[in-house]
Every structure is written in structure tokens, then in C-alpha cells.
Symmetry: C2
Subunit: 345 residues, 2 copies
């Protein structure tokens, strides 16, 4: 089959990889229809995080092509959303709502095929895949379903971790696809005030579309002052950190009001938690790898009825053969997030 | 009046200080009956944190001796518990449940008199002091009311911040008075399993009395293994950090299960938050200076009806003139916590 192949930093090609086959009775084979590039893929692409050479990509939706003998809830032809990690749905951590930490779980890679390829072997298919009801979904809906695979759930996790609820005052640090999704998530959770930090007009537009009530173009200490200026000098109840750098985490803690929360989902790079702010201002920190498999069922209905449209983060698209372009567009910040059309829906 | 005086590290004396008087119409003057020494006072005593020379002590109960003209809820003769900070009860942060961050609040010191002295001027008295109903309380009840001034509320804050609830599996790092109070708090909040880390037999006894179901005498990595051994290898849902050292915070994060929380109330000294554990295992961090004024009303009834007895942390007592002994006993770990009898009840 055709698939994107990670050869090393800055070097993505598209070539032949073995077609995955059922190995365990709990496996399913999914033929990928849409995939995309994650901000975390960029860390690999830029050589800032390690990635094994070979299969790459962990966000995809597609059609079940085959199921193992122990799979009971899925059948050939089902249209499914795959979360970015697989999980059994039955272990103590899954049952506690933490499928990303499933005791039998794992991620996509050379052993399964990557999401940026024609087919993926999905272990623990019953616990992992979400069957999408209905048929004939519009392309807009399909794009939004793809966003549930990771980016929307990750933004949602920032907001949930930050304790966003009805009436909350929120700020989002980071105007990448995750940050924009966090804006949408905060809106869905009932936030009254949503301050987006962005200096990019296209991203500001998406932020507004997603529910941002205020946009701040400043950075660093000027951004902190601007957020305080909008919040009676107190800062926000929930500061959502969606970047992962030391500076962004620092900003998030500074704009959080005493007693507030930092909801953090950025993969940390040189990030230092200001423990004095935690203790002396009671600013909590929570977040991390999103429990996508938990959130997808909560969000699926909202996507299908059009009440949320997380697929708006995709502003670049290409086909599987041009996957390197999809990376380059994001790397050069020409795109918020790149969608890859892999196969027929 | 007589009062303890901080002259510098290792140097506490008892001497004369000016009798406090009403300065603002919202003030009250409280004649202290019982006071005590806080673990944080020890940081000053040991020279590990700065303290202004002069008045010291922030935990006390007593009798209202005078009130300013604007005080409406208190009168001369009222028996009150004072939280370790004063607060107005009306600002946005107080109303949000964070009186320790009151926009008009502050702490006890030279401007007010310290808790380890015969009298204290209490600013914002209506918002700060809690009137205790009834009369003729037993000495046990009085000791437990004194514990509400700080230590019990701080332990309670660790447990609340750690998300302890009915059925939780909890571990408490630290067997000082705050750690023991955190055990009692976890029990009150319905924790099913409470693992106390302590190698001191007297403190183990109090921990058991307060509701600890398991005691672990190991430290460092051996303690981590022991906690995992008691929790199916997963660790605890809530790890309560009640020490404030780098090692104790490290232990707390290691014994927390994925998706769990560290509830931290120790004043940080060289503490580094393992951000990778936060993000890759979804272990949250919350806690800090306790909102005692919020918790005291919740806990007061339980103290008065005897269903909690936080005063058991006091295992040394003396009078005001012997306050230096109270410090020495804690400094030398002869005492968990020292009570000071200041004046007649």
C-alpha cells in the first residue's frame, strides 16, 4: 500500500509499505479516507522530538475493511473515527476515564501502519474505534469528524483540565489548531469570556468563529498586561496552554488569577512550572495527553448536527502522494493544519 | 502585653509589646486564649525562610475584647476562631472561594500583633473571624478549634485540591501535623484507602487514629514501590504533598496514578515539578495556601459534635512565657505540634 514514510527530520516521503493484516482476533483493518498532520508530527519533522523511521501519522478516519474473530461491535463497511491511541476500554484506567493511559494500549507506528497511509491495523478495535452513525455526511462534517481524532479532543482536554464551565473567563495561549480547538471547546463548555492570544489575522478569524470574545496580539509580558486589563486586573479563571514552550507555560501561569487553573496540553519543551505561583497563588496545573476515546462520543453528536465545526482548523489540503507538502505548509506556517485525502469515503 | 518575639533564626523570646488598639472601624481586638506553632514558623526559626523581627504566630483562638464601629456580626465576649490570614469576605476572590487571596487581605505581624501573644488586632473582623456557638466547650474541643485556625484547614486543602472524594485511594506524603490533618481530611471526604508515609511510631498512631488504612515506613524510591505494591501497581488517585521539599514533591508525583492528582500544601523549598509526568501521565497539581476562612464553617460543626478531632496533632503544650520551648520541641522533632496556653478561656 502507499503510505507516508518518516526518514528523519525534514525528510518525509511517500512510498510502499506492507499492507497490514489481522494479527490478533481483537484487530480491525481500517482503510483510511482522511488523515492529517499533527502539531506533534512537526516536532518530529523539525528534529525536536524523536520518531522511529517508517510509518507516521496518528489522526485518521476511514472504513472498516476487516475485523478479527473477537471483534463484536464493528463490521466490514463501518465508517469509524480512530482516536490517536488505541485502548481496550476495559482496564482500570480506561474505566476511570483515562484511555490514553490504557494498561494494554499504545500508538500507531510501524507495527500497525501510520494514519498517513492507506490502511491501518487497529488493535483492540472494539475499545478503540468509534462507529459513526448515518451515511452521506457532507465534506464539512467529514473534516470535523477527522478533527475528533486528536486536535479537537486535545483542545477539549485543555478546557476540561482548566475547569472551564458555564460563565468561566478563559484565555487560550497558542493559536495553532489545538489552541483554536480549545477556544471552541471553551465555548461549548459555556465560557462567557474567551480571550485568544494571536497575532495572525487568519487564525484570529477562526478564533472568532469558534467563539473568542477578545483577541490579544501582544506577546510575553505585554500579553499578560493586556489580559489583566480585560479582567479587572485579576487574570482569567482558566488559562489554556496549547503550545508547549517555556514561554507559553510562563504566560499561562501569569495570566491565571489566584485560585485559577492552567489547562495544559502542549508537549513540553524546556517548560518550567513556577511552583511558587502554584502554592502562593493557588494556580493549579492539569492536562496532558487527551483521553480522546472518552471525549469522541461526547462530541460526535455535536459534529453530526453541526453545532460544532472543528474541521475549520484545516486550511490546507492535499492527497496522500503530496504528504510532504502537507508538512511543509504547516512547518512554514502557511497552514494552520493540513488535511490529507487518502481514499474514497 | 506579653508576646513572643522573633529576633532572628533560632532566637525566640517572650517580652513586652504594645497592646493593640482599634485603628479602623472594621477592626476587632481579640484576647488570645490558645495559640500554637506552625510548621512554617519552623522555616523562619531555622533561617530557611525570611521573617521580619518582632511579632510572630498566626494560629489562635480567643475572645473578642473590643470591636470597631463598623463591625456588625461580632460583639465583646464572643468566642472566635481566627484563620491564619484576614480577609474581607466581599471581594471577587473571596466570593470565588479564595479568601487567602483576598484583594484587601493580609497576615498577622507587627502591625496587628502576632498570634503568639496576648492580644491581636484583627482587621476586617466581620469577614475574618468565625464566632463559635455554645459555651463550656471541653479542652479537647478547644484544641480542635485551634487546629482549624490553620493546620486542619491546610490538610483539608491538600485533600480537596487532590480531588479526594467518596471511595478515593489516597496517599499522604509527610507525617507532620499538616500531613496527619490531611489523613483526617481524606477520611472526612470519604476516601476508602488512605496510605500514610511515616516512620515515626507516635505519628503512625495518630495517622491510624485519623483514618489511615496503611502505613508505609519506607522513603524515596522504596516508598514509591511500596505504594504501588498496595495499589495494583497503579499508584494512588490523590497524592497529598505536605512537606514542601523537592524529594517529597517528587515522591508525590511518582506515587500518583496516571490521571491522578497531587494535592500540594507544603511551602516549596527547591521543589521542581516534573512537567513530563503532568503531561504524559496526566497527573495534575493543585494546592497551596489554604482558604481557611472558607473551610472553617464547613468543619466547625464536625469539631463541635466530636466527629473530627484535629486537636490530636498537639502532643506538646506550654504557656506563653515558655514559647521558646514550644519551638524547640518541634524543631527537635520531640513534638508533632506545640500548643501554647496564652490566656483564660
Amino acid at each position: 500500500m502507499r503510505a507516508a514514510i518518516f526518514n528523519g527530520p525534514g525528510d518525509i516521503t511517500v512510498g510502499e509499505r506492507p499492507n497490514p493484516v489481522i494479527q490478533d482476533p481483537t484487530d480491525a483493518i481500517v482503510r483510511v479516507t482522511l488523515a492529517c498532520v499533527c502539531g506533534s508530527d512537526l516536532w518530529y519533522y523539525r528534529g525536536e522530538s524523536k520518531h522511529e523511521p517508517g510509518a507516521i501519522g496518528h489522526e485518521f478516519i476511514g472504513i472498516v475493511e476487516a475485523v478479527g474473530s473477537a471483534v463484536t461491535t464493528l463490521a466490514e463497511g463501518d465508517f469509524v473515527v480512530a482516536p490517536f491511541l488505541y485502548s481496550d476500554g476495559t482496564c482500570e484506567l480506561c474505566l476511570a476515564g483515562w484511555p490514553a493511559h490504557c494498561l494494554s494500549g499504545g500508538g500507531w507506528g510501524n507495527a500497525t501502519g501510520g494514519g498517513q497511509g492507506e490502511r491501518v491495523r487497529v488493535p483492540l478495535a472494539d475499545g478503540t474505534l468509534l462507529k459513526v452513525p448515518g451515511t452521506g455526511h457532507s465534506d464539512d462534517v467529514l473534516r470535523s469528524l477527522l478533527a475528533l481524532s486528536d486536535v479537537m479532543c486535545t483542545g477539549y482536554h485543555a478546557a476540561v483540565s482548566g475547569g472551564v464551565r458555564e460563565g468561566s473567563t478563559v484565555a487560550v495561549v497558542g493559536d495553532g489548531a489545538v489552541g483554536l480547538s480549545a477556544v471552541l471547546a471553551a465555548k461549548r463548555l459555556g465560557a462567557e469570556r474567551i480571550i485568544a492570544l494571536s497575532r495572525n489575522p487568519a487564525r484570529q478569524d477562526v478564533a472568532r468563529e469558534f467563539g473568542a470574545t477578545d483577541i490579544i496580539a501582544e506577546r510575553g509580558d505585554a500579553a499578560v498586561e493586556a489580559v489583566k486589563g480585560l479582567t479587572s486586573g485579576l487574570g482569567v479563571e482558566a488559562a489554556l496552554e496549547c503550545v508547549g514552550t517555556g514561554e507559553s507555560l510562563d504566560t499561562a501561569f501569569k495570566i491565571a488569577r489566584s485560585g485559577g487553573m492552567v489547562g495544559a496540553v502542549g508537549v513540553p519543551h524546556d517548560s518550567v512550572v513556577p511552583i511558587e505561583t502554584v502554592i502562593f497563588r493557588n494556580v493549579g496545573l492539569r492536562g496532558g495527553v487527551a483521553p480522546a476515546r472518552k471525549y469522541i462520543p461526547e462530541l460526535l453528536g455535536d459534529v453530526l448536527d453541526g453545532s460544532i465545526n472543528p474541521g475549520l482548523v484545516f486550511d490546507f489540503e492535499t492527497d496522500l502522494e503530496h504528504t510532504p507538502e502537507a508538512y511543509a505548509a504547516m512547518d512554514e506556517r502557511r497552514a494552520i493544519k493540513s488535511l490529507i485525502r487518502v481514499g474514497a469515503a
